[in-house]
Symmetry: C2
Subunit: 327 residues, 2 copies
DNA sequence: TTGAAAGCGCTAACAG
DNA sequence: CTGTTAGCGCTTTCAA
């Protein structure tokens, strides 16, 4: 049973397709009588307008693409949720793309999204070179990384977050604090946090120590092994600022497994503070990113660009401390 | 700068649009010379085929819709990830829809997805009445709930999971075991787990006790309050089988907060066993759902339906126990 | 207030 | 091997 078209409706209602179109879009003048006839025909035929045809004509799809490393990660899972919710109130539908932080995958998605003629793209995973983004001539908004002058960016105050995290550890009496940075998030973002960490450490007369764990997001087992090895002899640190909450959890459980106590022997501060994390691991002290606001800002910015309104170039949202008992 | 069309390419290459179409789709015979000219023109114009126009013509979008309660939940976050990954290898793009388990929202999404002419829908959130799904005449695959005879279902062996969870608690010496079921997942699914729990309890000569927590997925704070109240006087139970791992985490932290020890005073078993949970809360004993396999099976089934191949009607995948230290 | 007709970008007969 | 042409379902001038 093929789907009914506007022609079927027109025929059934005994009017022209133009009239049907008018009724559908509530445009122009139509007599109540006509409207009635058309509505009835639509009901009877179970007619559902073909948005693809409409998009084809209007050259506007109301599609938005979202590229993230993986929706499995709680930060991106929540980000995806909020972005989709916000977009759907504006009549847009969201294509999800899990890049796994892989350059080639990301590039393929960028291409596909263009083929699908999305009206815009929100990028939360950025491994492709900056110059490439320039070439796309698309409406793009970035989360957490400055791509180019033409691409607005939304982010939390990473520097402030890094400072607050470090401050919290120092305030708890830590002297040997390790900062773990992974590729869980983009380099530039991590950089601001690490810079803040370094600055705050130096201010306190402490020696910054940075560990880069370059496994991809999904390789949590490997990260766990690294941490367990780190803790196997003795505890080389009394405080750890982890790149994100997942990493913080790994650190936490590795420490416990090796017989150390948190926070007595080791204090831990994470980053992200998703709702989910605060539910399943409420005792983890962490820096809360305002994910919902980030999502909303990104959507607003993107829709401004799509609507060719002038949009801000950069939005920085405040972080907050979630005080658990790990630091 | 408007995007180049197939006509622009044809003009630039000095050939007909048909020829361009042929090289694009690698169909029919074309001389190398022609192909060369076309390729050059494509490069120069930075031409990107308009998939919307193609879809419009072929009446096939290569879009799939996924309806879940929320990607914030680790189970659905991972499910979304795997489904998208699998689909993308098959040339499909995924629309994500967060229904928040709300009937009306779900209904709206169903409508929108049809307007967008998706080739199929995977439903992981089912609140709309069964009869409604019947009417859609679409390619639908369900995860975790039997909708109608025409809609294939993929699920883990919920009954077995419920049994194993209960068995684990009994095996650890629990006598007063509570089964918490929420609306975190669909009723029918929960029912199989609960039935298994009841059966196993009776076999062991124990009294089944079921608590229904009917807050929505996102209202974790409310669930926490309920649990803390439950534990405020004394511990009415020595074992809890929670509906999912998030609920299990809430139970766990509520118990700790009230001064009880896990597993000494209270043993806990969860459900889902996502990668994420096993990373951030590895000590939680839980039932592992084979999420990746569920995702793959659902996609395979859906693509079979889309391709009008005969598809299975029901696929049940095995669960496994993740033995942590909470039970 | 309504209808006829053109055309969005692409593919597929059908001719050459 | 290549080109001409007729739509796919919809919206929108332009006429009536």
């Amino acid at each position: 049973m093929k789907k009914a078209t506007i022609h079927d409706v027109a025929k059934k209602a005994g009017v022209s397709v133009t009239t049907v179109s008018r009724v559908l879009n509530n445009r122009g003048y139509i007599s109540d009588e006509m409207k009635e006839k058309v509505m009835t025909a639509i009901k009877e035929l179970n007619y559902i307008p073909n948005e693809i045809a409409r998009s084809f004509f209007t050259n506007k799809t109301n599609f938005v693409g979202l590229i993230v490393p993986t929706t499995s990660n709680p930060f991106f899972g929540e980000l995806t949720f909020h972005i989709e919710k916000k977009l759907s109130t504006k009549g847009y539908k969201l294509f999800i793309c899990n890049s796994i932080n892989d350059v080639e995958t990301e590039r393929v998605y960028l291409r596909l999204l263009q083929e699908k003629r999305v009206d815009g793209i929100i990028v939360g995973s950025h491994n492709v070179d900056i110059e490439e983004y320039e070439g796309y001539g698309m409406n793009i908004v970035s989360i957490d990384r400055e791509l180019t002058a033409n691409i607005p960016i939304v982010q939390c105050d990473n520097y402030d977050g890094g400072r607050l995290a470090t401050e919290t550890l120092i305030g708890s009496g830590c002297k040997r604090i390790l900062c773990i940075t992974g590729d869980a998030r983009v380099k530039t973002t991590a950089r601001a946090r690490v810079s803040a960490y370094e600055d705050r450490m130096r201010e306190a007369g402490l020696e910054p120590q940075i560990m880069e764990i370059s496994f991809s997001l999904s390789e949590n087992d490997k990260k766990r092994v690294v941490m367990e090895n780190l803790f196997s002899e003795s505890l080389p640190f009394d405080g750890i600022f982890a790149g994100d909450d997942v990493m913080a959890s790994i650190v936490y459980h590795a420490a416990l497994k090796k017989g150390y106590k948190v926070p007595e022997d080791l204090k831990i501060v994470g980053f992200d503070g998703t709702e989910m994390m605060r539910t399943v691991f409420p005792t983890l002290t962490t820096i809360i990113q305002p994910i919902e606001q980030i999502a909303e800002a990104a959507v607003d910015l993107l829709l401004d660009k799509i609507g060719e309104k002038k949009a801000e170039n950069k939005i920085v949202l405040p972080i907050a401390l979630h005080k658990g008992s790990t630091a």
